[in-house]
Symmetry: C2
Subunit: 417 residues, 2 copies
């Protein structure tokens, strides 16, 4: 399938991230007006909330877009998602009869502010990138014991903190925490000195479930995908994480892209997980390809300096897919809800340039990487980190919008009031 | 302070769990009517939702009880909590002038169903019982390495699954999961054979926070406490938990008592945490006693059989208090919200009879314990497990209501539809 042409001319450029093929879901506001749901098209956002209010969307049932988040649509299920896409495609396609009615609902993207696109119910973060797990395991335990024994059998993960999730553009304050280096007898409480990113994709749960679901059912439950930066304080993590896993090291912030790309837009880019190194238990088998070919990059920009791309990789590097993770998540009977967010785990490729964290890029801080005008091991104050992702179709591009955050200095005294 | 006498005569008995000193918060329904907020008094529940509707509560501001959960009150802060208690005490005290107005809002407890008392925002579970950590550590690593290196410095915890939290009386279905014993080459997918309880208290966050808070501020944020059973599949946990911590082993169910006991009711029972074995970092120091003297017990009843009390202990056995846990939870800047639930960790005393889990009581399944008509290592199908807690005041008792759940058999095929 090639580009679907729109009467919004800017949407027809080969490199435009928001062609009619995409229609990603966000929440926007114009000047002082209240935030509401919108869909990106070319260099504009279409105010779908007011389109619905004006009776131009004709979705079945009660209003779904009268709230400043996409959860109502997400929970309505695949038939409604498809109906919405069909209707928006008809409204925005080249030669659409309703063009004159729709046009007043467009706002230039440069004029709007973007907000959290959905309410996060719960957030789970996985550890499903083979190269990342091998790299981190090698640093801590040596290459022969790099992968934990369960790793090739379970898409292992931990529950993260939903309250940490923020939209792209939100500043991230360097955290304080309890740390203890191997050379110190007792821990200390100080600002993190090894603050890091993790390049991930996030899967957004649409339809809820009670009880175990298959991988195919899990795929059907997913509404769409976002870029996700799982900010990580490595020094806090090293001291706290045994035996219960990461906790405060991951609770400062989790930045997501402002746009949720619906699964339908990613369909042409489906690709299979790599060959299994050991057979999986049947409940984890994939009935069809469950990953996507999404080119990813990480940019680092110091305050006032030029941006350097510090990593390039692809979502197809994952060993486990989001539907496998979601299916495993339900095995115990764990109920999943609309708005649950599943982080893929850090996406690293096989080469040094394709590593999705500074921990790996600088090999635990031992090998500083070159950036424009300097070097980095971990993040320095006032650095801006940006994740980007795109799928390249036949004459068109699918984008997520930048997933960006600037790290501002730690509080001088976290308990000063 | 002694018993505060009420015109609800049943509330004045020395062993009644719901005297006027208590006033715990629940959600109830009568026959087919909708669930609403109520407060237990003697052998009755007072319909505070309809009292507010009738203008008899006179709380400041907008209605707080027009929803079937306590979150609006919880989020309104300590001044509102105190005003509500004052007003309810005035309404229900012996000789109250408003007795005739209030009496129609009482329903016998035997006639009502109890529901979840609040919406759980996020759920965090800690591991802050010294004896539990030592017992479990000894089983897995030997007594010399029993406590993890961070244990005496950090109230370690992990994020649990809010969607697992259910109210007392909800059946708990034995989960399936991926397990691998040390003698097996590959894992298998099967119903858990080592399904267990964990006897805990839960702290319920009332007022929200952004950024780090002190232990004193954390105490002020807590609305009240519940009994909490952190159901745990030990065989699933053993295989999955390294290096990211417990995940599906703890996601089947987390049962809480139907009543939240407000902090004010527990005030006379405040007691200090035990002496520190090593000094804490200043941010964790307690400005005043932060635990409570709450006698706890666990009962096991097989289907059709008699109940056996299998453990007796006390909340004062904790090494870290809930305010210490909550303060630590915020160190990274993690935002806390109204309805966040913090599990204390398993509460075990120093003796064999005071251990708060079957894992410890049966020493990893090696030493079956005697129950009425048989023995147990872990939970068998159709066993009912009940946690109870009470504070003994001068002529009165503070109770939480039973925290109970029956374990029903695993699904024959979790993927049959």
């Amino acid at each position: 399938m090639g580009l679907i042409r729109s009467w919004v001319e800017s949407a027809n450029g080969e490199d435009c991230p928001f062609p009619l093929n995409n229609l990603p879901c966000g929440v926007f506001s114009v000047s002082d007006d209240e935030p509401r749901c919108g869909v990106a098209i070319g260099d504009c956002v279409l105010d779908v909330a007011r389109l619905e209010e004006a009776g131009l969307l004709a979705l079945p049932g009660k209003p779904l877009l009268d709230v400043p988040f996409w959860n109502e649509v997400m929970g309505a299920g695949p038939a409604v998602w498809a109906a919405l896409r069909d209707r928006l495609t008809a409204l925005l396609a080249e030669g659409a009869p309703d063009r004159a009615a729709a046009e007043p609902f467009l706002h230039p993207l440069v004029d709007v502010s973007l907000h959290m696109p959905f309410l996060v119910s719960e957030y789970t973060d996985f550890y499903a990138g083979r190269n990342h797990a091998f790299n981190v395991g090698t640093m801590f335990r040596g290459p022969e014991n790099a992968l934990p024994p369960n790793w090739l059998h379970i898409p292992i993960g931990y529950n993260g903190r939903a309250s940490s999730v923020v939209v792209s553009g939100t500043d991230v304050r360097r955290p304080w925490g309890q740390v203890k280096g191997p050379d110190h007898a007792v821990p200390s409480f100080q600002p993190s000195r090894r603050f890091d990113i993790e390049l991930e994709m996030g899967a957004v749960v649409g339809t809820p479930s009670i009880g175990p679901v298959t991988v195919a059912e899990a795929d059907d439950m997913i509404f769409g995908y976002v870029l996700l930066n799982d900010w990580s304080a490595r020094d806090i993590q090293a001291w706290e994480y045994q035996p219960l896993g990461p906790f405060q090291a991951k609770a400062t912030a989790t930045t997501i892209s402002p746009w949720i790309v619906m699964k339908a837009a990613l369909e042409p880019f489906r690709t299979a997980t790599p060959a299994r190194e050991v057979p999986l238990l049947p409940y984890l088998n994939e009935p069809r390809p469950m990953l996507y070919d999404i080119a990813l990059e990480v940019a680092l920009q110091p305050e006032g300096g030029a941006e350097t791309i510090i990593a390039r990789t692809n979502y197809a590097e994952m060993y486990y897919s989001a539907p496998q993770q979601l299916a495993h998540h339900t095995t115990s009977g764990c109920a999943m809800n609309t708005g649950d967010l599943l982080g893929s785990g850090t996406i690293s490729g096989p080469t040094k340039e394709s590593r999705g964290s500074l921990l790996e890029l600088s090999w635990g801080g031992k090998e500083p990487i070159a950036i424009s005008g300097g070097t980095r091991t971990f993040i320095e104050d006032n650095d801006t980190l940006t994740l980007r992702g795109q799928c390249k179709g036949d004459g068109y591009t699918i984008g997520f919008g930048d997933c960006t955050g600037k790290v501002i200095p730690a509080l001088a005294d976290p308990y000063a009031r």
